[in-house]
Symmetry: C2
Subunit: 316 residues, 2 copies
Amino acid sequence: MKALQWDGDSLALNTVAKPIAKPGEVLVRLTRAGICNTDLEIIRGYYPFSGTLGHEFVGIVDEAANPSLIGKRVVSDINSSCHHCAMCQAGMPHHCVNRSALGIHGRDGAFAEFLTTPEENLVIVPDSLEDNLAVYAEPLAAALEIQEQVNFSRHEGVLVIGDGKLGLLITMSLAQAGLEVTLLGHHPHRLELLGLDNISFCSSAPDLKYPVVIEATGNPSGFATAVQLTAPRGALVLKSTYKGNLEFNPAPLVVNEITLLGSRCGPMDKAVALLADGAINPAGLTEEIFPLTRAPQAIARANKKGTLKVLLEMGS
Amino acid sequence: MKALQWDGDSLALNTVAKPIAKPGEVLVRLTRAGICNTDLEIIRGYYPFSGTLGHEFVGIVDEAANPSLIGKRVVSDINSSCHHCAMCQAGMPHHCVNRSALGIHGRDGAFAEFLTTPEENLVIVPDSLEDNLAVYAEPLAAALEIQEQVNFSRHEGVLVIGDGKLGLLITMSLAQAGLEVTLLGHHPHRLELLGLDNISFCSSAPDLKYPVVIEATGNPSGFATAVQLTAPRGALVLKSTYKGNLEFNPAPLVVNEITLLGSRCGPMDKAVALLADGAINPAGLTEEIFPLTRAPQAIARANKKGTLKVLLEMGS
């Protein structure tokens, strides 16, 4: 099969053996995959992964011990957990010390024709939800994780910094939850694109400070702005992964007693449910769809500044 | 009167006019003051304050509208609040946008013969509590603030990084609260000095990760160690103020979903109560006591690496 692989040094569309499902795993034939900034950061050296990239996908179960799963359309949690370590035992399988993560750590990912993933990680995709939307389940779950971590009061304003694909998904998820969201970014027309007419937009740092600020720019100046705009005793959610270090003045964090929350993967089942009933519709986020055979060009496109979501289509 | 003043450029023991209490304020004749790292950081340029330094003190009310206060021994919250701004109205007077802070921001401090402070900020010191211990009320309150912010479970281990004066006060306060504390530092004998025989000590980073880590070293490498040693979904409390920037790799914060909590001033009344009933006895933290007339030498002493608390004694 074809697979877009990173060897720590260069990217190539290789022809490789179809993966073989281990006990407890299923083989999934991929239909769509999404390119995430984390993929681009791996290529920039953020994380020492080598293998098939990609962790946002939807596909069809091709082989499974449980015959009722075969032919089902699925997405999958990207973290495979051991169930034995202290973190798993403490109910935090996403933080399993022995985990692998699809296309990020210890397990080949989704920019390929097939992948394997634990059966227990699958979430079935309802027939009504088309592939081009279901492929957003993983990044939407990451956006929803914020609501698992922050105790929002309905009366509080939330500022999202960054109107890239992750910032926009976060904005959509918070607005859907009934929160009053302000988006700080550079592309006001993107709100229109997504039908988000109840969101306040600002193109430069507002005068106000916010009780909750979400940093989703992925660049150090976004973080500095976020610290500045978080109200005393407020929460600052750090959603981006970066290559390299952040440099910042910690005094405002201490003096204003700000809570900084790192935030990663979230609940896939909730994401699929919100996509399936149309509560969140990220169709407007898709910038372009490339066939898997043109995956290197898709990565190049995704790497261009100002690009929203680039998808890969398999079997075309 | 004599006052140790910083003019933004140099330090001098000046002869200045005795301060005059405004409506709502009392005049306090100081008896002891403590030198805090924040004082030293101001002198290093951490914060653009000029005026009389010092915010840890105990003294005797000399003038007050309320005659029953006169002659009472007191400590005082260092933050003076407006009671009108949004933060005050939201019940966070320590974060008042119009606040002054004794010896730090907009108000002369305690390295002098007299200071003024709002009557509402006073906490009466019981007769049984001697000046040399009462002077620890402010830094102990700052240590206790951690317990106001972190939801400790009694079964969780806590790691304190830094066995300087603040780290040791934090260690004492957490141990007193019944928590299992490990202290990472360079001076194991200091635990003995303070009678803390139930504390685990390590002189290099342990192999374990901790659900709660307190950073109290005040240096950037301490912060990097703290991030490393915080368990996934754990809390990292940032207690130190620094001059300049911290540089760190934010990936572990995001990947491990760590909560970073900035922490500043705490409850003075609780601190006085714990000191008064002997539940916390910081006597062993005092390195040396200088008369106010030798305040510049006291600052030089406090600035020496490895020095614990240096106190000033007034009227001697």
